[in-house]
């Protein structure tokens, strides 16, 4: 989970996720936001999914233009599943940005239970990731991970490998710089294709 600064690409992608909204007022000339409507204006009462950044901008108007509903992974049914055993959930399919989006969406939960579910899920799945990094086979056996979980696992595996190669090798080898190596690799691949 990277920081949510203005220039962060991952935060931009998180805030691009769609959330269900209900329009509370008419919005002239914005009919195109609803693919199923043919009218020019967007009518009060319309329920559609829009990107989070737009939803937030409409929600913070005074008075708010929309009410934001929770995406299904944060709703009661899923909260129960997650609280019972979060490790059984396919985050790749259901919550590519589960924690990050959850942080933004929590305030729209009237019961304010999302926060606890996020923390609980994080802790349960932390253990799963922890044991997955010890051996490479177990990474494939766990339920698919969310984007940030995959990042975390990847870097933990890098640490694990660095340590085990340190234990084996005496020398501290120098290698080709990574951008240089990757650009060569890409060039070779491109040449093979053409």
């Amino acid at each position: 989970m990277s920081s949510s600064n203005y220039l962060s690409i991952s935060d931009i992608l998180v805030t691009n996720e769609k959330v269900p909204c209900k329009f509370l007022l008419d919005l002239p000339k914005m009919g195109f936001l609803d693919p199923s409507a043919a009218e020019n204006d967007l009518k009060a009462g319309t329920n559609i999914e829009i990107p989070l950044w737009l939803a937030e901008s409409l929600y913070t108007r005074r008075p708010p233009l929309v009410s934001v509903d929770l995406p299904k992974i944060y709703k009661e049914t899923y909260r129960e599943i997650l609280n019972a055993d979060a490790c059984t959930v396919d985050m790749h399919k259901l919550g590519q940005h589960f924690y990050e989006l959850g942080c933004y969406i929590a305030k729209h939960d009237i019961k304010s239970e999302v926060s606890a579910t996020l923390l609980n899920t994080y802790r349960q799945r932390f253990k799963m990731i922890l044991s997955a990094t010890v051996s490479t086979d177990s990474i494939n056996s766990v339920q698919p991970l969310s984007a940030s979980e995959r990042e975390r696992t990847k870097s933990a595996v890098v640490t694990e490998r660095a340590l085990s190669s340190w234990l084996k090798i005496g020398d501290c080898p120098l290698t080709t710089a990574s951008m240089i190596a990757n650009h060569r690799k890409r060039k070779r691949a491109e040449m093979e294709l053409s």
Partner: protein
């Protein structure tokens, strides 16, 4: 190496050089492990560079195959590694947090508590300027009128003071307050000499700067 040089380093510089090296190494370690940029240790870097220069001249007087020459060269390589890595780590932070660092540094310079060396500060200012120009040339000058400003406030990236770090206490420090976000029961802990902890950087930032703890 001629005896005169040895006498000199023994009487006047030897003890200090050793201490300076140790301090520089700790500074390097802290710089590597702390989220924010720390006050510079330019005097120590320069002292070590002086030592290296002095030593290199002497090594050149020795036959190439002399055992001492190998040993000294190896030690110099070790010190050069620390210096390069230390300075590079600082440059990386300066680049990542350039806008925030330049702003904060301007205030620190006024109060005489600057963290950057003059060269680092020049580098940081030039870096921000180049970044601003590049973004203006490519995008900002071409977008609609009221969108063209380079918004320093939005563009500034800050180090994460809330990130968790590992530390070893060099001396006992009591009463570090750990904020409790969920309840309102803040916790207070003591750092006994030699003990090790993982906790947020923010409450111990000053202890890193005054040497009471070492990041590990």
């Amino acid at each position: 190496m001629d005896t005169e040089d040895i006498e000199l380093s023994e009487d006047e510089e030897e003890i200090t050089a050793e201490t300076v090296l140790k301090t520089l190494q700790n500074a390097w370690q802290n710089e590597r492990l702390s989220p924010e940029i720390l006050p510079h240790h330019n005097d120590m870097v320069e002292c070590m560079l002086g030592q290296i220069q002095h030593m290199e001249r002497n090594i050149n007087k020795l036959p190439k195959t002399d055992l001492r020459s190998c040993i000294h060269k190896m030690e110099l390589n070790r010190i050069k590694y620390i210096i390069c890595n230390y300075l590079k780590t600082r440059l990386n932070k300066i680049e990542s947090y350039c806008i925030a660092i330049v702003n904060e540094e301007k205030q620190r310079i006024e109060s005489g508590t600057n963290y950057l060396t003059p060269s680092e500060f020049r580098y940081a200012q030039e870096y921000v300027l180049n970044m601003e120009n590049h973004l203006k040339n490519t995008v900002l000058d071409h977008v609609p009128g009221n969108m063209q400003t380079f918004e320093f406030n939005k563009m500034a990236i800050y180090p994460n003071y809330q990130s968790h770090v590992f530390l070893k206490a060099n001396e006992t420090v009591n009463g570090i307050v750990l904020e409790d976000l969920l309840g309102d029961q803040d916790e207070e802990i003591d750092l006994e000499e030699g003990s090790q902890h993982i906790l947020q950087y923010k409450p111990i930032a000053d202890l890193v700067k005054n040497g009471k703890v070492q990041l590990v």
